[in-house]
Amino acid sequence: MKKLINNPDDIIKEQLEGMQAAHPDLIKVNFEPYYITRAGGPVKGKVALISGGGSGHEPMHGGFVGHGMLHAACPGEVFTSPTPDQMHLAAKAADGGAGVLNIVKNYTGDVMNFEMAAELAMADGIKVQNIVIDDDIAVKDSLYTAGRRGVGSTVLIEKICGAASEEGYDLQSLSALCRTLNQNGRSMGMALTSCITPANGSPSFDIGDDEMEIGIGIHGEPGIQREKIKTVDEIAEMMTVSILEDAAYSRALKEWDFEKNEWVEREIVDEPFKKGDKVIAFVNSMGGTPVSELYGVYRKVAQVTEKFGVKIVRNLIGPYITALEMQGCSITLMKVDDSMIKLWDAPVKTPGLRWGV
């Protein structure tokens, strides 16, 4: 196992110590249990935006805590959802009196843990909503699967909703924005190599020297399909076309109903992309692919979207939602309107994403 680590059992703790040492001006790490809040404490009167998930996807989510993005993040063990107590304490620490919005990637574990956490926080009198992100079009079906996974859209949503919180959106409007952005975003990922989880020590899947996995998630799980490696043009075109041509996607997602005071299932439909749409294009490295190759991917994404009549108005290119040292990439397209673009452009100052300030 080729990793810059000490004992695998200590890596979450030690890497968080490193983050804390590096960014004391931006973040404050709590160690028992793990959660990360902004250095300045809760932001009075603003909805606290919180996310969390397994570790191994850095800079997401801890690296996105700071002005203009998250108020808190909960790191789990590597690729393992964090637990309700972490999320509950993070909510208590980050709540500025205007409630908490949990951004939950759609994995069985994350969803269940965040639901329990929301219940605990609500029992403390904190207003909490959970919005589930499920943008991975590699998963076709929500009837015979746990539904689409939450992947690249999460990063864009954390940025845009973070800016909206700074703007003073209340919990309901922030939740609505978050839900809409999730409906507007679609992603697809692929891997050239498998990652190795530190505790496991060997590759999560075997893959031939001339093979790639299409439709992977971000947890070293095998993808939807195994193929011979193709050229970047073929890969990027196939992925971009799949995203652009993905049909309407309908499924039920749970949200808290503040009137009924219980979880309700909301039927949610993502409409397909259409000519004239403006999008943010996000080309992401899975961790082991260098930015030079991402530009090769972006080149094709730009060509394909243009041909389709979709206009890229902003882009993000780099390793932002990773799967340890996996080689590979993901592509996310998210339809945005002018107000969303303005929120995207707003200042952000976090360890992992920074501009305008």
């Binding site: 397994g54 690729f79 964090p82 999560s204 799980e221």
Partner: protein
């Protein structure tokens, strides 16, 4: 009668078997999941095991509730809330009790099972822990109804569960991470069903 000492030894047996099979469970989860199930279960039950001495004075309901809270706050992933809910719901049927009749044990297991089904919405055949927990619970309660002693009933439940566990191999997963694999999830035994099997075996061992 199931005494609270039995419960304590069930939990410490569970830890032993999960510790022993940490790699094995992770390996199963590598094939169709994200390679963490063994570590998740180990982390949770290690913590449970450490707390057992402090729980010895408590009644069965209190013990199971403490186990639930520990699992919920240490396991993480899908299995954390699921096993946590199992023990939490099981605990509600044992409040204040220092021992359980076979009927009460059967009620306890049913409550735990219902909790997992409520939380995870999985059905038998979805290739999850339900594929072991449900037939084992059904067998146990049927035999207990018929008046079989608890140790016999659980032995039989374990052997039915073992068959059912093997039946998860050809299944296509419909819940949890393995569901993303679709057809490719065939041919692999479900990790969560396997850990459930270990916990049932530990129960059987604890009372015989």
């Amino acid at each position: 009668m199931l005494k609270k000492e039995h419960v304590i030894s069930w939990l410490s047996e569970s830890f032993s078997v999960l510790e022993e099979n940490r790699q094995y469970l992770t390996q199963l989860d590598t094939a169709i999941g994200d390679a963490d199930h063994g570590n998740n279960m180990y982390r949770g039950f290690k913590k449970v095991n450490e707390q057992l001495p402090a729980l010895e004075g408590k009644d069965i309901g209190a013990v199971l509730k403490a186990v639930a809270m520990t699992l919920i706050s240490t396991v993480g992933g899908a299995s954390g809330p699921l096993y946590g809910t199992f023990f939490l719901q099981a605990a509600t049927k044992c409040t204040g009790k220092d021992e359980l009749t076979p009927q009460e044990v059967s009620v306890m297991f049913k409550a735990g099972l219902q909790g997992v089904k409520m939380r995870g919405k999985a059905q038998p055949g979805d290739k999850t822990m339900i594929d072991v927990l449900e037939p084992a619970t059904t067998t146990l309660s049927e035999l207990v109804e018929k008046g079989e002693p608890l140790d016999i009933a659980i032995k039989e439940a374990v052997s039915v569960a073992m068959e059912k566990l093997k039946e998860t191999i050809p299944m296509i997963a419909k819940k949890g991470r393995a569901s993303y694999l679709g057809e490719r999830s065939k041919g692999h035994q479900d990790p969560g069903a396997t850990s459930s099997m270990f916990i049932l075996e530990a129960f059987s061992k604890a009372i015989s």
